[in-house]
Amino acid sequence: MSGLGVFFRRIWPQLLTLAVIVGLISVMFPGFFDISIANGRLYGSPIDILNRGAPVALLAIGMTLVIATRGIDLSVGAVMAICGAVSAWGITAGYGLGATLLMALSAGLACGLWNGLLVAVLGIQPIVATLILMVAGRGIAQLITEGAILTFNHEGLIFFGSGSILSVPTPVVIWVLTGALVTLVVRRSALGMLIEAIGVNLRASTLAGVNTRVLLIAVYMASGLCASLAGVIAAADIRGADANNAGLWLELDAILAVVIGGTSLLGGRFSLIASLVGALVIQAVNTGILLSGFPPEFNLIIKAVIILIILVLQSPAMRTLLVFFSRDPRGVAETEKETVTP
């Protein structure tokens, strides 16, 4: 019970933000909560947010782990393009669905391994190390698709983008399951704590006997794997691999999701659930802008202003101010005690 309480204390700002944004949208657009079933699949704006948010949510899972180690992975958008291209190429070249997925996921793992080796073994700064693949990745994807949009009509692969499981769109199922699985793995074992330890102090963790090198590589590989899932979903969604545009700038949205989720870019403590809520906040803003009917010139400005407000409200200065005004008796008592004791 107390564990659950701590959990909600951690993520209530994110949940509140999401609720406020969803509330704002439903005021502007009263039909927001209408959910029906079309073609055997849930249909409605809230479903759109969950469904369209899938790529960023998946990227955010990997990104949270990487950022917790005090790293950053700029290559995830390009890795999405590569894995989407691999899946489209595999299915059109006549490999089966299983083999195609295996190839796409392996490509993501290989990209993660590359990043991990640069960071953990060669000791290159993460932002520089992953920048390499961010730049080169799109070129690799274009080599695979030969510069064109590689389209396919394989029902099995399309299922990952526009299919549904028990009426829930497949991308939603995939990111929810991935999120739950990764959370279980890192929180039900010491893995999460070790990742945080690396982020707080790499050298101290190594000296304490943590195999930081392997763990760092594993974290980047997890990020690559998440990116490959996102890439397959993005390609399956439009039934084609668009090397130029798949996952373009999504690495920034993923980082933003983690930041909104309250995980510090300086590493250490992290919350996967909060990052996922952060991803939903970003997508809710995007969908809200589209529903609002404003001219497209305003899209980016509105998004930036909303993000700014969220981040200002979350800033340490604002938190201090909140504590001050709420006059929490405990907080006040503690400060008083501190001032009294010599």
Partner: protein
Amino acid sequence: MKSTKAIVGAGVLASMLMLSSSVFAQTVGFSQIGSESGWRAAETTLTQQQAKERGIDLKFADAQQKQENQIKALRSFIAQGVDAILLAPVVATGWDSVLEEAKEADIPVILLDRMVDSSDDLYLTAVGSDLVHEGNVAGQWLVDELGGKDCNVVELQGTTGSSPAIDRKNGFEQAIKGHDNIKLIRSQTGDFTRTKGKEVMESFLKAEDGGKNICALYAHNDDMAVGAIQAIKEAGLKPGEDILVVSIDAVPDIFQAMAAGEANATVELTPNMAGPAFDALAAYTKDGTMPPKFIQTESKLYTKDDDPMKVYEEKKDLGY
């Protein structure tokens, strides 16, 4: 196999005809921007085909999106003493000095697809499409198709602020102006991509009573239309019937959709800019006929009556 032989045969025949009509066996340098989109890849393929048909020796240089590479390529063409230069400029400014060098060397330069800011006596002519006209043709098709019926149109714009997005929007609005039965109810950017086209169309459908309030979609390019068609289908509506779909570019995939009855019309942005360029060049070298400073390519309208599958087969190997 037979068909390739026939094509090669036709090509040889055509080149013999060209050779007999003009004794100028020419060398032409072609500085291409790069291969950033399928359309540009198709332009490169068609330019090479057109040169081959006319017996022109084409020297091809890919600039990989860099102006300095294009200027280098132009200087090397001038040094080699080519008979003419085709240039698809990556940006509009900064061409004056290299174009003057070409002029001093008496080498005519023809611009393809994009314009430059230099004075127009520095190049022979420019071949390109009129983006406003393209939007106009699309709008005119919708006006004719509806024949006075009331219609709410949603628009998927290109990248905000890009000249194709601005011009194609203006052209379409000009065409529907004065037709009060047609109303543009929503307009949003889909960034010229399939993913965004699909996402934005999904929100249009939700915002307009599950799509019942929408009678037509106008997309600034085919890729966004292809994405939107999927969104319409997933919403349980029939694209092409419940919601008319008209777009611009004429890439192969839209013809597949058209053959399936899911798209209604597309306006071609022809990748064959080299054909008119070579024609103008031939006339100029033959008897010095000065072409007009801007040669506008045809913005052809394709509908389901144009045998979409056949067009698809013709276009699919051009590198789109």
